[in-house]
Symmetry: C2
Subunit: 492 residues, 2 copies
């Protein structure tokens, strides 16, 4: 059926087309089903919504994602995507071949899979697991679709943390150190999904983070590196869609994680990659053997993709740094870059920067680059290139004025800080949407505290959200204090 493209002012996050009821009936297509749209020697998939009046018969209403459509197009029922059969096969526990995985990736890329089919793929990968061979093929397939950056440099460095630790804002410290050593670092980061801040949210305190690929090239040419939001550059469209299906159930199948991270790094044109794998109670990886196994897989798959991969296995059972939430984390970052700062954040950043430089074969002392101000200068150049004010000072970064302190109910020693709960308190306070909201930890694990001493301070921009955060903190008390002299042995 030939239809004339008209615009419909709707954004749906999927390639929605609006058809008149009459045309939909003639095509035999129902709402939510898929049509194939052929025009200008290009085939596009559309998801159908139906209307009586919004779009007249003979027209095809193209919404937000389908801006490239125009003129007359030929619309037909989309055939069942080939990969549906392979997803079913995986659900039945059968290992998939290279070409079957490539077909799944291609169908995700071309928007051929519905949310139901995409979710079935993710849960199949989760419940059945992906073998090493599957992971390798999947990584290569994902790296081969979408845009790709290339750089003149022989060595292009990158880092990634598998996440799960709050605070932990090491990227805006590690990247400037490595850039200061003369290595190109085109870093893309995510925004928070379930956490109180992602690296992109924290960087947004200093400068813009949403850029086109062309702009990213200019920024890196100017500053030697960048720290931008990955979602804006469309470097890994398949990964973005898979993540959208993983998030609701917090699924993160290991093979899919490896493929997502490494294909993204390859698309960014990186050659040397450091992966931070925090492990421990409450982290994504709970045990050391598990962390080591994941590290081995990352390195092996990396080798198949021509990526030199190094892994840092780090503590994931407690927050890193004092600030949690965009502005509070930005304060930690600026303090460390200025030579001070929470020591755990400083030490972890130096360790990661050192490992990444060594992996790149660059001889440089990260501590010297930090203490000489070279890293801060590199940070300023990146901020300026991304449209921010390089003169920004600590005094400019003001956390929310509504505050409340959680105080120690007894004197003793801090024995545990619950990552997930403190993160949730910061989110209730408004982070990441309210950039100045969050939690400032007054203590670290093993610190001695007096009864009544503040354990953390909640900052909010709105009194209502402060009250929400306070209620959760009082109910769950996420910082544990034990008697100073008390140890497991003594209690026995």
């Amino acid at each position: 059926m030939d239809l004339q493209v008209v615009r419909v002012d709707l954004a749906t996050r999927v390639p929605t087309v609006v058809l008149n009821t009459a045309d939909a009936a003639e095509l035999g297509v129902n709402p939510l089903e898929r049509v194939q749209i052929d025009g200008d020697s290009r085939t596009t998939i559309g998801i159908v919504e139906v209307t009586e009046e919004l779009v007249s018969p003979g027209s095809l209403g193209a919404t937000g994602r389908l801006g490239h459509l125009s003129g007359t197009v030929t619309v037909s029922l989309a055939p069942v995507p080939a990969s549906v059969r392979f997803i079913r096969k995986k659900l039945d526990g059968v290992e998939l071949e290279r070409d079957e995985l490539r077909r799944i990736v291609a169908d995700i890329y071309e928007d051929r899979l519905s949310d139901i089919e995409l979710s079935a793929y993710v849960t199949a990968a989760y419940t059945r697991g992906l073998s090493f061979e599957e992971t390798r093929h999947l990584s290569a397939a994902m790296a081969d679709v979408g845009a790709r950056l290339t750089w003149p440099d022989e060595v292009v460095a990158d880092k990634h943390s598998i996440g799960g630790v709050i605070g932990n804002r090491v990227t805006p410290i590690v990247v400037p150190i490595v850039v200061a050593a003369g290595v190109t670092v085109p870093k893309t980061s995510s925004r928070a999904i379930t956490s109180p801040a992602g690296t992109a949210d924290t960087m947004e305190v200093f400068c813009d983070v949403e850029f086109s690929l062309a702009e990213v090239r200019e920024i890196v040419a100017e500053a030697g590196g960048c720290m931008v939001w990955g979602g804006g550059v469309n470097l890994s469209p398949v990964d973005d869609r898979i993540i959208r299906a993983e998030n609701p159930l917090s699924l993160d199948p290991r093979g899919q994680l490896i493929a997502s991270v490494l294909s993204k790094k390859r698309a960014a044109g990186s050659t040397h990659v450091l992966i931070d794998i925090p492990y421990g109670e409450g982290a994504k990886v709970e045990s050391l053997p598990e962390a080591r196994e994941l590290a081995t897989d990352f390195k092996r798959v990396g080798a198949h993709l021509d990526l030199r991969v190094e892994c840092a296995i780090t503590r994931g059972d407690r927050p890193i740094g004092r600030g949690i939430g965009p502005v509070l984390e930005a304060r930690d970052v600026l303090t460390v870059l200025s030579g001070g700062g929470p020591t755990d954040l400083r030490h972890k950043s130096l360790r990661l920067a050192g490992m990444l430089l060594e992996c790149c074969g660059v001889e440089a002392d990260p501590a010297a680059l930090l203490d000489s101000g070279a890293a801060l200068a590199a940070f300023h150049r990146i901020v300026a290139a991304q449209g921010g004010d390089p003169e920004v000072a600590l005094g400019d970064l003001r956390p929310g004025e509504e505050t409340w302190a959680l105080r120690a109910a007894r004197s003793g020693v801090v024995s545990h800080i619950d990552n997930a709960l403190v993160g949730e308190v910061a989110r209730r306070a408004g982070a990441p949407k309210d950039a100045r909201a969050g939690v400032h930890l007054g203590v670290a694990v093993d610190d001695e505290v007096e009864r009544g001493e503040p354990l953390f301070l909640v900052h909010a921009e709105h009194a209502g959200k402060l009250a929400d955060a306070r209620a959760l903190a009082e109910r769950t008390f996420p910082v544990h204090v034990r008697d100073a002299g008390e140890t497991l042995v003594e209690r026995l």
Copy 2:
């Protein structure tokens, strides 16, 4: 945020609401995310689409499914549904408790789950399986939501086939026989999804099949039974949504199947139910032991729901009847009801009717009810009550005029007729949308044929579709003929 409801002329099959970009940003909600809409002491869930101009700030655009909204409503971010945690638990292989399953059913009923979450539930049930206890709780939970029919009769009969066999249009024969014996049968059926015709599609050749619950009550009061489309009466809204998530990957987890069927029968007010379980090569259930196990589970779960369940284990490796497609099947039905007809269809119908009557404790001879014309009279009453012409004769049911015959390539004996392939040929020919399209089998398994004799005749309404069907039939040749004397033993 308080918003004024306005209508937006869009049908999306899900509860879509259209928000102005400004309001969406203030709520912090993105396209495809869910909002909670409170108004008139009722809470509704909406799935967000965003617009610049279609809906102005301060308004909430309600689409097709949300016709009940009006006036001013309070809109907020929908909390994560509680059942998401339980779905994740099931994905991890943990058996679910009664209350967890009830929460999942309630969240599906209230539209709180996205397609991604719903699909994860279905795939979890498929890959991890549902225990007997889970199946029992799920069935009870599904029976407890949605509308429910009640009848003055002590015995209310029903039948269901788990499907997978083409032709097999026994329902319009069994129901009239049982009704003729004085038993109430409020039968709801489905339309075809992947097959060339469902019972509702075939009944639609004779009369209307879409009715409200109130109309169904009147029809049954008048005719003693009905054969209506189940999708129209909203008796099992949860089941309808689960089926939508099962279909794309042809998933049919056994526990979910049992819960779907029995909860629907219970909602229809039935007390005595016969389940037809076809088994064999190409059927949904491949082996006899598997069929027996399924039958046992159906009966056990039924007992917990106060349903008396009987199961017929039948041959599922070949078509039943000669016609495939709405009109062609309607012809078979009318012929059998008139005392003739394909013998396999007649025999199977009599067997099922006999079992159902026995299960109901009614002494009656199905063959006598059929041959005396009592069943045909009951059929006519139902057709008339559903707005059809009871005088309909075989001559009124004309299959499509575009025809092509698949002819035997050799003389011999028909050894196999492929259910799935013949079904697909009928679909290519236009069934079920083109009611007069389909396949008429000229032979049955074990028939002797001469070279060049027609094996089946394809009927279509349009020449193009006939060509499509012919191409598939010629390529796959779904009726197998072996040499007359040839047997497995002789070949060895």
